[in-house]
Symmetry: C2
Subunit: 464 residues, 2 copies
Amino acid sequence: MNVRPTSNSISAVVDALKDMLGQRCSTSEAVLHAHGKGESWHPPELPDCVCYPDDTGEVSRIMTLCHEHKVPVIPFGVGTSLEGHTLAPLGGVSIDLTRMNAVLEVNAEDMDCRVQAGVTRKALNTFIRDTGLFFPIDPGADATIGGMTATRASGTNAVRYGTMKDNVIGLTFVNAAGEVVRTGGRARKSSAGYDLTRLLVGSEGTLGVITDVALKLHGLPEAMMAARATFPDLDSAIQTVIGTIQMGIPVARIELVDSTYIDAINDYSKTDYPVRDTLFLEFHGTENYVEEQTDLFSEIAAEFGGSDLERARREEDRNHLWQARHDAYWAILAKYPGKEGFTSDVCVPISKLAEIIHYVREKLESSFLESHIIGHAGDGNFHMIFCIDPDDKTQTDEVYRINALMVEKAIEMGGTCTGEHGVGTGKLKYLRLEHGDEAVAMMQAIKQAMDPENILNPMKTVTI
Amino acid sequence: MNVRPTSNSISAVVDALKDMLGQRCSTSEAVLHAHGKGESWHPPELPDCVCYPDDTGEVSRIMTLCHEHKVPVIPFGVGTSLEGHTLAPLGGVSIDLTRMNAVLEVNAEDMDCRVQAGVTRKALNTFIRDTGLFFPIDPGADATIGGMTATRASGTNAVRYGTMKDNVIGLTFVNAAGEVVRTGGRARKSSAGYDLTRLLVGSEGTLGVITDVALKLHGLPEAMMAARATFPDLDSAIQTVIGTIQMGIPVARIELVDSTYIDAINDYSKTDYPVRDTLFLEFHGTENYVEEQTDLFSEIAAEFGGSDLERARREEDRNHLWQARHDAYWAILAKYPGKEGFTSDVCVPISKLAEIIHYVREKLESSFLESHIIGHAGDGNFHMIFCIDPDDKTQTDEVYRINALMVEKAIEMGGTCTGEHGVGTGKLKYLRLEHGDEAVAMMQAIKQAMDPENILNPMKTVTI
């Protein structure tokens, strides 16, 4: 079913969209190129045009038109996807949702809000900064809430606050036929029928175009403490993470950064952190309780040889520490000028984290590639970053080979091929290995039922 | 599509099941009666036979047979359903899963486990009591994990630990064709494809028969504090709840019990609690932190006229306090000998909780029914209990009328017709009002795709 629409269909759709949207439908080469790629490297695939709707009604009209002509639609936020979700392998219409950037409602008393899909996570937090609430999910990039919902994103706070799956309470989407469907409500919990909200979260634009999202917000804790501790090796750091989680310390963040990363961060962010395997942490609670949690953590870390514990209490010190962590990806890229980043993203039961890292490092000993490890260790999720020349097939082949080894090992351990980046095109080939034929057949049946013409972000997530 | 199978089909299936299972397939009247009802009152509807499989393979063989003959299948745990999920309106085969009661694995280091569907929540907690871990979800009854998963159950701990949606990490189910499908994995998070796990959670046996479930476990907190405080009226209690949640106090339980319930509890549980509107609470953390949380709560409660704060630190005192809360339903039933309980279950944004309770109480002023309110107030979820004579149509009509008023108001407020009990047959008629035609059409499309013959628990949740 994965065939390009005819050029007649494309022309008909593009002409009609230009009539409908005027300059908000573009076919400029530069715009097509900006929308035929994501943040991590994949061979670009350009759409035939890019639309910039203003509201759900316009998305519905675009979708109805594309449905009539069987032309693919690819939702697009700010292009920070890492697994090729925004590519247009069959051409079609890229729907850029960045003009839909309004915060529609904030209900401080109920700690929820509703935003258009194009609002970014930072814009949302800026908007609500006077309410005493915050939205915790923080993938590295300042992604849109729509994109984060579609990819079931998470980030450093997931160990305490969950992922998008746990924080989306409802959403509006436009289905393949152009109809507007609303899921969920404002109740904190519900047993009323199939969980369409959770089905759309992580569906990557293949079941509908998400146009607005209702989110849980969380109370800003009375006190926060950031901390950093270094370890003789990754094993000791990981054992400390396991001990911390098992003690029931409700750590808000617990991030693993390997020594090569620290080296790059020191260069990039002008820090002078000891070049050792490191944990970055954050504790939320009352003044007393964050001190108590940090003390408890410190005892566990000491048992495993941890040292150099640095505490950051003041907001500026905490921000400084976390800015360094958030800059990590750019810090590594800066070490390899002219190269592009390729990011792996497996997640395993936390007891297997040390084992899989050993396994991959051993495999890498005979490789010409250098790797760098960063991880949301509290969730058993880590990324290995490779900086490569995408035009050099030896390099791309090698990165795919290592990535495959890692994914297969993670799945063998009961883990997943993607902890937070999504399937897109990059992980498509591993879905059957992870879930089995029966579960993939069920996903296909759902896709078939919701999008029989296969026009919603085709060739991503689940193929039919 | 909701037609009874022919008597020939039924005979063929029952004969084959008796061959397959021997005495583990029963057609005794007493057994059929025990399986044609749930815990809350609905007119009973009997299955044609009841099977007791020992493993997933047997469930698969039963399902394959029923599929071949187009005979309905109704999964059954311990029958504590409150919305008619276990009724057999078209007859068919009730699959009683209570023999499948093995804990399959406990991974203490990763804080997860896998259990067969027939394990009850209390049996699981007994099994893992030496691991330092616990499973927090606690509907009133000692329900099976399979039933709790199928109905997306929750209970008193949901405000802190979430519902079944948040605690099921994967599951195995048998689909309409008898195939065994496995969803999810052991990773703490994943973005790998459609969230089939969450689609099955809350699907009430209409998409498949759940045979085993992988669950998150949680570390037993170092310290727990239970507490009880009384208030001049429900409003003050609810304002205290809102203040507590908004302050970010990570309360583990915060339960509202009205004065009429307290009166019944005093009689039933031999307590001497002040007969006032009351909050029951629990705090989890370190020794210092639970005291600190209780102090903070106490200050908020005092602002709203709360008094009589009683703290329970020792395990036996805590258990005593919570036993009284858990006995509440039986305490009310004991006040009305010979009557049956009818339980409502709406959930609203917490800011609307006082308003909806006022609204319903006002409507009840002109009613001959007495009502009693108990609620998981931290989630905006409450139950009104009515004790009625199910053979008196005036009483059943009146309870349906009041329930409808309550549900309609909750939905108007952005809430849901069921916070935790499920749709079953009881809430079927409200699904469209709550979700809209487009969302219900999507649920129907999924049901149609997964169960085209409509043999999986037909006439429940979503009808096709």
